[in-house]
């Protein structure tokens, strides 16, 4: 081996090895082990991992709680993604114009995103339990009088509200970035040709934003699907395990019921669902991308 080649390898190791080593420990090995564990009845403590074939998956197929939390998380993600993206686009559109206090307003919308889910859950628990009843008394709007964390439907709604509130600012920034690169003269010439504001948005801005939309939907969907902290602090899965996200469900299986093998089977289905839906979404929206 030439000296040059040997040096090249040495530098490759210096530059890349530390990162790849920990990437392997934290991501690659766990992904491979998840597949292996899912075929065992491991309880997390015993040294032996008994091979049980596809037994875990057979049990999983009939696991009511799991499929309920899957449905819950999918619906939660769908609604949160839709609302966060619509509101995110509207605020981005408004805050892309030269209006006074634009930067302060952008910062205000972004603020919830810099906080952790646990904190946000507690903040909103206080709002739902203490502030909404007061609002109900003063405004007499029935919406505020609901027992927000007490019933299945409202606990779901509460989760969506908190999630939209927390990711709105992030989605907004991505849309602002997308809007900022649309050439101004395209919009101006459309205006001169007589297009009104609504037509400009739907016929020009949105089609040109398709790549941003693809990305926003993808990122916000992924964020919503893995919700855990907000779930823990806001509803704690209540009432009667009706507001459990998948991450929460897997956590309980693995660490409260010590069923690690079974938990891994749940995890693999979870990854598969995310990948399939993401691929479908990206392929649908990216096909509609156009160039300015």
């Amino acid at each position: 081996m030439s000296t040059y080649r040997r040096k090249q390898i040495m530098y490759e190791v210096i530059f890349v090895a530390p990162t790849i080593a920990f990437f392997t420990i934290v991501k690659i090995l766990p992904m491979l082990s998840a597949v292996w564990y899912s075929l065992t009845s491991w309880n997390g403590i015993s040294a032996v991992k008994e091979f049980v074939g596809f037994h875990n998956f057979a049990v999983l197929a009939a696991d009511k709680h799991y499929w309920y939390s899957m449905k819950f998380t999918l619906m939660f993600s769908l609604l949160s993604v839709v609302f966060a993206n619509i509101l995110g686009f509207i605020t981005a559109y408004a805050l892309s114009r030269e209006i006074p206090g634009r930067n302060v307003l952008r910062a205000a919308f972004y603020l919830p995103y810099v906080l952790g889910g646990l904190v946000l859950g507690f903040v909103w628990k206080f709002i739902f339990l203490k502030f909404f009843p007061v609002l109900h008394q003063t405004t007499e709007i029935d919406l505020f009088g609901l027992s927000w964390l007490g019933t299945t439907e409202t606990a779901f709604g509460a989760m969506v509200i908190v999630q939209v509130w927390s990711i709105l600012g992030y989605v907004m920034l991505l849309y602002i970035a997308g809007i900022s690169v649309i050439p101004v003269d395209i919009i101006e010439s459309a205006r001169i040709d007589g297009a009104n504001a609504i037509q400009v948005i739907f016929r020009i801005i949105l089609p040109l934003l398709m790549s941003t939309i693809t990305r926003c939907l993808f990122i916000s969907f992924l964020t919503c699907m893995k919700v855990y902290d907000v779930n823990l602090s806001l509803t704690d899965g209540n009432p009667y395990r009706s507001s459990e996200s998948i991450a929460y469900n897997i956590y309980k299986t693995a660490f409260d019921e010590n069923a690690m093998g079974y938990g891994c089977a749940k995890s693999l289905i979870f990854i598969a669902v995310i990948l399939v839906i993401s691929l479908i979404q990206v392929s649908i929206t990216s096909r509609r991308e156009v160039q300015a």
């Binding site: 420990i25 203490k130 992924l222 990948l275």
Partner: protein, 275 residues
Amino acid sequence: MNLKKKNILLTAVMVLMAAIVLLPFYLVLVNSFKTLPEIGEDIMSIPKIWHVENYARAMEKMNFWHTMMNTLVITFIASFLHILFATMAGYWLIRHPGKLNNLLYFLLIAAMAVPFQSIMIPVISITKWFHLHGSLLGISFVYLGMGCSTVVFLTYGAVKSIPTELEEAAIMDGCTPFSMYFLVIFPLLRTIVLTYSILNVFWFWNDYLTPQLMLGTKKSMYTMQIALKVFSGEYLVRWDYLLPAVVLAMILPVAVFIICQRSIIDGMVSGAVKG
């Protein structure tokens, strides 16, 4: 309606929306200084007497300074590891394409779609085997493994915009790849390094799940989020206890955000266009 009037209307709507977004923070903040009966009486008002002792109590129960130190140590070490190692790896993978490096790059990017929540079970047993459990240094290295993908991804765009002539000239002048990276390339990457580092600080500070799984239940190992969760379990209905704790757990990210908001927002906007 002329443009000016339209903008005034738009501003008014936006200010109203922003006020709704910020209202929960206002309520948590003012009520954290009240006693429980005072919260019940008047939730909207600024406290008549500022009960600072609410904070003293929460700080004592959360073991605030010790918890704060733990969280800062993790935040500092993990941020440093990303800046040093992950950026370097990203640069090398992009500039030396080959079978192995392309595969590594692909794996790093593909892993971004796999949420931590779905591999947390094996992560625990594997990191235990590597003795990364129960120490602040260990969890910082675990963060490097989790966060390097994003850093490599963001470094990609920044490195691509640096002309290769610069590196060739430096090598001609007798630089080793090592000194060339630190003297020539790294200074050019400072904008993207700053952007992801700020985002990382929020992540390390706010993360609950990883420390819960990695650091065990020892009180001396609590991070801010863990302390908040434990505290909340004991005083679930005592809002006069819990609210100050919530405020304490969000002080640092809010402070960092207020100080760096321009560079965060501008960095996010320009980074999002490039990436």
